[in-house]
């Protein structure tokens, strides 16, 4: 049984249709990449999968781990094992990064989180992401640079260990070193966490050091092509022109 099954998913924002009949299947532990030009609806797909109430589902269904989740609220999807890394993470003053993660872990598992083990894990994950330890006690995303915000998102993914992580443009706006660091974090998630990934991106930099199983091309709200990692090479060389013309 596939981990994620999306059938004929259509979605609209403020009455404007964006996604038009998306079919997508992701197996446990596999890595999918969703690429496409600006405005194709990539982020909308990420938000629709995670259940952002601003995105109205106008057709189709989403199944996760065999359960129908199309109507579930985002927190229930998170508890079921979904994770979305935001392109623009929200600032939450007064809540420290570590407390936020620890609380989230507690709520997702329903179990008390042992402080010692938690701190040890945080420390090693932050080391992997070259994050200064002081960030753990800083208010969530408040005053973080663009790069630190993205790292904090990957840190949450590593700590919360979802079954499926959707990364929305996690490489955008990052310099070369930061992309490499984030990419390391994602690789650790592939290898240690055995979670599945849906990496949404319009560039290919973050993918260089990652194993990719399947690539989807999204144009004007439709998946116009699905293939293996070789598609990445083609886009690197020729861009999206072939797909946009066909669409």
């Amino acid at each position: 049984m596939a981990l994620l099954e999306v059938n004929g998913l259509s979605a609209a924002v403020d009455g404007q249709p964006i996604l038009q009949g998306i079919d997508l299947t992701i197996e446990e532990g596999s890595t999918h990449v969703l690429m496409g030009p600006n405005g194709a609806g990539k982020s909308t797909l990420g938000f629709a999968l995670m259940g952002n109430p601003r995105y109205e589902i106008t057709g189709g269904s989403i199944r996760f781990g065999g359960e129908e989740i199309t109507e579930l609220s985002a927190d229930k999807r998170a508890k079921a094992g979904m994770f979305l890394s935001f392109q623009n993470p929200v600032e939450v003053p007064g809540v420290s990064l570590s407390n936020f993660i620890r609380n989230a872990e507690h709520m997702q598992t329903g179990q008390p989180v042992k402080l010692f083990g938690f701190q040890k894990q945080m420390k090693s994950a932050m080391e992997l992401l070259s994050m200064d330890e002081t960030y753990a006690d800083r208010d969530l995303n408040v005053g973080f640079s663009g790069g630190e915000k993205k790292k904090a998102e990957i840190l949450q993914m590593l700590m919360l260990k979802p079954r499926l992580a959707i990364l929305d443009e996690t490489d955008s706006g990052l310099d070369v070193d930061a992309v490499r660091t984030v990419s390391q974090g994602v690789r650790a998630f592939q290898q240690e966490g055995h979670g599945a990934l849906l990496i949404i991106t319009h560039s290919t930099r973050i993918l260089e050091a990652l194993h990719v199983d399947t690539v989807h091309i999204l144009v004007k709200g439709r998946i116009v092509e699905t293939g293996d990692a070789a598609l990445i090479e083609e886009i690197n060389a020729r861009g999206f022109e072939r797909f946009t013309q066909e669409a």
Binding site: S73, D75, L84, P93, N103, Q108, L160
Partner: protein, 376 residues
């Protein structure tokens, strides 16, 4: 009996420049304590770190230098303390002394009794002090009708002195109270003020509530004032504030952040003023207000003034008033928080971010526990 004592209320928290009357924000009516008034002296019999001393005195006989520090609530508030014959001891920090540890003054309001307390702080040149005033009710709580509590505070910061004052107001039940603060800064003096107003629940009685005023006179060149206020008001509570940064010296700075939560039928009036006097060249002031409204019955009034008689200044104000944003709620729910949990975490976080300013670990922990227990 004086005229004031015969009156039921006095006008306080005057807006420095009045505006349309229909808004009813030009001043507040402070209900006066009825019956006998008890005075407390928070500085009596406390242990002090080296270099600090307490001089006993009375409010009415307060020495000139201190009396000339205006407060946010205005002269009418002073009159209440003077007429009750309250003591006003002065806590002095000698020149050059950096107090080794914070001075913590617990003040307990007594049930069914009107009580007043006044503390004045004089930090001499190059001195540094941290002081915490912890306002609570006695064991039975302060639910009794007609409980009234007043606190008058003055800080005189000499040249290059640094004073940090934290006031924690955690009354668990409805009562009327006033917290009135006046600050005067010499050259290069820096005063930091953190106020945590918890448990403003108020009764149904009109006019009851918490009245708070702050006036920082930045007289010395390069002096600065930071105000970091957090509050929670619920029930039928009324929170009435008047905060003024009076920039007089050159290159003075003020930075004021107000973050609050209004619930149930609570009403809040916030007056915040940046006043740049002619001659305050090179000065900058900033006031930011962020109000979270949790219930359809709340009433929020915000009156942010920038008064300016000097060209070479930078004055800014920003306000955000509304509910928790959909973005924050969705972000938190994508990490597994339900709407209810997200709301509680954020409300408590606003208050804890001010509690963080408490320089004493034990008290800080106690206050954080209080927030988690009382504000859900």
């Amino acid at each position: 009996m004086s005229a004031v004592e015969q009156m039921k209320s006095v006008p306080v928290n005057r807006l420095p420049m009045p505006t349309y009357r229909f808004l009813k924000v030009n001043e507040a009516e402070l209900p006066l304590p009825e019956g006998a008034v008890t005075c407390k002296d928070p500085l009596a019999g406390i242990d002090l770190p080296e270099g600090l001393r307490v001089t006993a005195g009375t409010f009415a006989g307060m020495e000139e230098a201190l009396r000339e520090i205006p407060t946010g609530m205005g002269e009418e508030a002073d009159r209440i303390f003077a007429q009750a014959g309250c003591p006003a001891s002065v806590l002095s920090v000698q020149a050059g002394v950096q107090a080794a540890e914070p001075v913590i003054l617990p003040v307990t309001a007594t049930v069914g009794v009107s009580s007043l307390a006044a503390v004045t702080v004089r930090a001499e040149e190059d001195a540094a002090l941290e002081i915490v005033i912890d306002l609570t009710c006695d064991a039975a709580g302060c639910a009794a009708a007609r409980s009234f509590f007043g606190m008058s505070l003055r800080i005189l910061a000499g040249d290059r002195a640094r004073v940090k004052l934290v006031v924690i107001r955690r009354f668990g039940a409805p009562m009327s109270d006033l917290i009135d603060l006046g600050i005067r800064c010499g050259e290069d003096a820096a005063v930091e003020y953190s106020a945590l107003s918890l448990g403003v629940r108020g009764g149904s009685k009109a006019g009851a509530g918490s009245f708070q005023g702050v006036l920082a006179t930045l007289a010395g060149d390069r002096s600065s004032f930071i105000d970091h206020t957090g509050y929670y008001a619920g029930g039928h509570g009324l929170l009435d504030m008047n905060i003024i940064a009076d920039h007089r010296g050159r290159d003075t700075r003020s930075d004021m952040i107000f973050r609050g939560v209004l619930d149930d039928h609570a009403k809040k009036i916030w007056r915040g003023t940046l006043d740049f006097k002619s001659g305050a060249a090179g000065s900058a002031g900033n006031e930011q207000e962020d109000t979270l409204m949790l219930s359809p019955g709340v009433h929020n009034s915000s009156v942010p003034l920038i008064l300016c008689g000097e060209e070479d200044v930078d004055g800014r104000h920003g306000a955000t008033i509304g509910q928790l944003s959909d973005e924050i709620l969705f972000y938190m729910s994508s990490r597994g928080y339900t709407a209810e949990e997200a709301r509680r975490l954020i409300v408590q976080a606003r208050l804890k971010s001010v509690a963080r300013e408490i320089p004493d670990a034990k008290l800080r922990w106690e206050v954080e526990q209080w927030i988690e227990r009382e504000i859900a």
